[in-house]
């Protein structure tokens, strides 16, 4: 399953809820304000590193760049562009958006 989170982890609990529901082998894609979750030093960095042991974590590069966070992404996070976003949706049978 593909999980998509578009809210900042320190403003809304969408990411928390996603992380507690995502099964091993899932892919988690962070977009819009959600990308702050994969930036170094963010309070949720330990939680993201933990979930990366069992899930693939991706972040939308244009959203990182817009926010000036492109140079501070946690190692191991897969950065994708809009085409990569489409590929992820196509590859996964189901998509869950944590609005």
């Amino acid at each position: 399953m593909l999980h998509i989170v578009n809210k900042s982890p320190l403003e809304k609990n969408a990411l928390d809820s996603c992380l507690t529901h995502a099964q091993a082998g899932s892919t988690i894609l962070l977009i819009e304000d959600g990308v702050y979750a994969v930036t170094k030093g963010n309070k949720v960095e330990p939680a993201m590193k933990k979930v990366m042991e069992s899930c693939t974590v991706c972040a939308l590069w244009p959203d990182l760049e817009a926010r000036g966070m492109q140079d501070t992404v946690i190692d191991g996070v897969k950065q994708v562009d809009y085409n990569g976003f489409v590929d992820l949706v196509a590859e996964n049978a189901t998509v869950q958006s944590w609005l």
């Binding site: 578009n6 809210k7 900042s8 320190l10 403003e11 819009e32 304000d33 702050y36 930036t39 170094k40 030093g41 963010n42 309070k43 960095e45 590069w61 244009p62 959203d63 760049e65 817009a66 926010r67 000036g68 966070m69 492109q70 140079d71 501070t72 562009d81």
Partner: protein, 135 residues
Amino acid sequence: MTESTGGIDMDEDSSGTVKKFAFINRKAPYGTVYALESLEVVLISAAFDQDVSLMFIDDGVYQIKKGQGTKGIGMKNFSPTYRALEGYDIEKLYVEKESLEERGLTEADLLVDVEVLSRADMAALMEEQDVILSF
């Protein structure tokens, strides 16, 4: 009409009163419209010669992060505008230390000169204000 002021001699009643205005910014840019709307009201407020302070707390600190480039998302990059505020005599920018730390940021990551305040000092500064505008 008892006085022939022509409507321009109103200083004592209105425009002569300077109040302390604080704009409290708590939202990240681009994900919602709050940051841009706040900036627009700040610029309008500059026309009224008030004592304006901008406070950045919580995700609001992301508004003034260096290196924003919005070509990829097709939105206007309004971050350079924060550097222009000085030209409008808006020079009181305050950033909360704890909010920076929770996001892995330091003062060096910010695109404007600011005063970094502790959460307690920020709270005290809020108490001093006459008007608070929240975004």
